[in-house]
């Protein structure tokens, strides 16, 4: 089992279920049927919860609105920017996602006062993209893990340093923990629906972003399982991960001013010409008439060649049959003509 359960700072955190919420919520069938007849299950599996990334956080730190037990029916939602009672290493401040929240709110996905209700509903919130995932071990093939770890153990012989090491090390190496395929699937959940995006006011090009990405070399490689090709986050966000902006925003990683830097993560010799290349190419080349005609011509050429050549071959075969040549095996060859010399047997 490679689940990481005791991080270094667990020592400073209090028991996660201070208010004993699990007393009731550990029961498997706790829940209710709402006015629409939909069944809600409010069970929290304790063993599973203990293995998730938020396991050290008290229920109340997130569900702040519950102040007494038994509690009233819940009307509020959790704010991911709450500060919890965890103290991160090297600091006495309480931990919070406020920093991410600020970046996120300023990004293309942040809700603004001008947004229509429909737009607000269409934009993702934190929990749309994040599900309190289970901790899983990430293998660090490319780092000399054992040696580096031994360095830490010079001063931290305690077991917890392994988790601290891994916590840091995989973030040094990779931009995201999720596989590129998972990221594409996540963004595609909304951006694939080009009709809905058009209704929300996206440009035609932006509305077909997923389709065109899937048509690009990056998309194809990712779909085939590549770990090296660019996913949406590689290009649309810096390592802050949530700073996704429209391209005319000067902060956007895809803004003309920054795009060379973005591509340089993987393409070393990025220059002025290079950044003009379409990475969301139009699938049917309808943007440029010349390329469109060329594509049409090549397709016709393909069919034309096949039909004429196979035709010629069949025609030829038919024509040559006149001489009594057959498509049967005879002495290791199909050279069989009725008036032919007997052939010496070959061993």
């Amino acid at each position: 089992m490679a689940l990481l359960m005791v991080p270094l700072w667990a020592l400073t955190a209090q028991a996660a279920d201070k208010m004993n919420c699990l007393m009731c919520h550990k029961h498997r069938y706790i829940g209710r049927i709402d006015a629409n007849g939909k069944l809600h299950n409010y069970n929290v599996d304790e063993t599973m919860y203990r293995h998730t990334v938020h396991r050290n956080i008290d229920c109340h730190d997130c569900h702040t609105y519950i102040t007494k037990i038994p509690h009233d029916p819940v009307t509020q939602t959790v704010n991911c920017a709450n500060s919890c009672h965890i103290k991160p290493p090297f600091s006495q401040e309480t931990f919070s996602h406020q920093h991410i929240m600020t970046i996120f709110n300023g990004s293309a996905h942040g809700r603004t006062p001008e947004d229509s209700d429909r737009m607000r509903a269409a934009k993702p919130d934190c929990i749309f993209c994040h599900q309190n995932p289970l901790y899983s071990k990430i293998s660090e093939e490319n780092l000399p893990e054992a040696e580096a770890l031994r360095r830490c153990q010079n001063c931290h012989p305690q077991g917890g340093v392994i988790q601290a090491f891994q916590h840091i090390a995989h973030r040094l190496r990779k931009k995201t923990t999720r596989a590129p395929q998972q990221i594409v699937a996540l963004c595609a959940k909304c951006h694939q629906d080009s009709e809905r995006m058009l209704q929300l006011g996206a440009s035609p090009r932006a509305a077909e972003a997923v389709e065109s990405y899937n048509h690009s070399i990056h998309g194809k490689l990712v779909r085939l399982g590549s770990k090296k090709a660019a996913d949406c986050i590689s290009c649309h966000a810096s390592s802050a991960l949530h700073d996704i902006y429209k391209k005319d925003n000067p902060k956007a990683s895809i803004n003309k001013a920054n795009i060379a830097q973005t591509c340089r993560q993987c393409h070393a010799k990025t220059g002025d010409w290079f950044i003009d290349i379409a990475v969301h190419p139009s699938p049917i080349h309808k943007d440029n008439p010349i390329i469109y005609l060329m594509s049409l011509f090549l397709q016709l050429a393909t069919y034309g060649t096949v039909i004429s050549m196979v035709g010629l071959m069949l025609f030829e075969t038919f024509g040559r049959r006149r001489e009594g040549i057959r498509l049967i095996l005879f002495n290791g060859s199909s050279w069989h003509r009725p008036n032919k010399h007997a052939r010496p047997k070959r061993g």
Partner: protein
């Protein structure tokens, strides 16, 4: 068949007569005799090949191209058709796409190397032949007007209008066309492939050059580099699919599956062509063989004698000849 009957007039020719018109049923070769055009129906042939056709270099080059082409197609097609169910399975055979990409590159480099090797052999061979005064452009891939005439002649033959197939050189019209197609195709695939492999480096040079040649309306809203890259993506993929289809549906069929060549033409491994095939489709090259290989001359002379086709005798017609044959054997 009937038309051939009265064409059987042996023309006394002093030496190897290559100027005979299409109606020349007999070709006279000094020291061999009058060879009837359809002698290939009566010769013995080893399926593994009787007469030299390709040098060892060409055989090696063909093998290299053959292997790399299959690997390139197997690693490239799944990328082109990445949304189809088999794509991932095919890629997984190579151990994942990140490895398959390397296989594709390495094969591409081997193929480019082979192309250079080929050009070197061809140019080198030509120089050697020129120095020895043996060079004959008719025995090369260089297209001639005669190829077009041969093509129409062949069509007529298949339709039953002409009695015999045209007398063709070492490379017939089909092969020359195919050779040119391979030349053009590899050029496109190699340039486009380099632009896909090194987009950042290529984008620095070629689009700038294009910008000097093409007016801007051609590229529309795009910049020259975007236009060039789009073009290159299209060309690389479509040209590769075209090449694969031509090879699978035409080249392989034509070479191995048609009657007379089925189940396998060994020429690509042995570098030798069967006597029947040589005489049927490359008659003029066969005459060269007769001139160059004494054993072949002997064989043909004996065969003609055996068939009582010695120059003095004039068989009344081909049909009688055939029936005679079945009586003798």
């Amino acid at each position: 068949m009937e038309q051939s009957l009265d064409t059987g007039t042996p023309k006394p020719a002093p030496t190897l007569d290559r100027s005979m018109g299409e109606d020349g049923y007999y070709t006279f070769v000094d020291g061999v005799g009058h060879i009837p055009r359809d002698i290939y129906k009566h010769v013995q042939s080893d399926p593994r090949g009787d007469l030299p056709r390709y040098s060892i270099h060409i055989v090696i080059q063909h093998l290299l191209i053959f292997i790399t082409f299959i690997l390139l197609a197997a690693t490239g097609l799944p990328i082109f058709f990445s949304d189809l169910f088999w794509a991932k399975h095919l890629i997984d055979l190579f151990g994942g796409i990140d490895i398959a990409r390397w296989v594709h590159r390495i094969c591409a480099f081997i193929m480019m190397f082979t192309s250079i090797y080929h050009v070197v052999t061809v140019v080198g061979g030509t120089i050697v032949k020129l120095l020895r005064h043996e060079f004959d452009y008719k025995r090369t891939q260089i297209p001639r007007l005669k190829d077009l005439q041969d093509f129409f002649h062949d069509i007529k033959y298949f339709l039953g209008i002409e009695p015999f197939r045209p007398k063709m050189e070492k490379f017939m019209y089909k092969q020359k066309l195919h050779y040119m197609a391979v030349f053009y195709g590899s050029f496109v695939l190699m340039t486009a492939g380099s632009a896909l492999l090194f987009p950042d480096i290529v984008a620095k040079s070629i689009p700038g050059l294009i910008g000097k040649v093409l007016p801007h309306w051609v590229v529309g809203n795009d910049s020259y580099s975007a236009f060039f890259q789009d073009l290159v993506r299209l060309m690389h993929a479509d040209e590769a699919v075209l090449a694969l289809i031509v090879l699978a549906f035409w080249h392989w069929m034509n070479v191995h599956f048609v009657p007379g060549r089925f189940p396998l033409q060994w020429a690509f491994l042995t570098g030798r062509i069967t006597r029947e095939h040589q005489i049927e489709e490359h008659f003029l090259e066969y005459l060269n063989n007769l001139r160059e290989i004494p054993e072949e001359r002997e064989y043909m002379r004996d065969l003609l004698k055996e068939l009582s086709l010695a120059p003095r005798e004039q068989p009344a017609s081909d049909t009688i000849l055939a029936s005679e044959l079945s009586r003798i054997h």
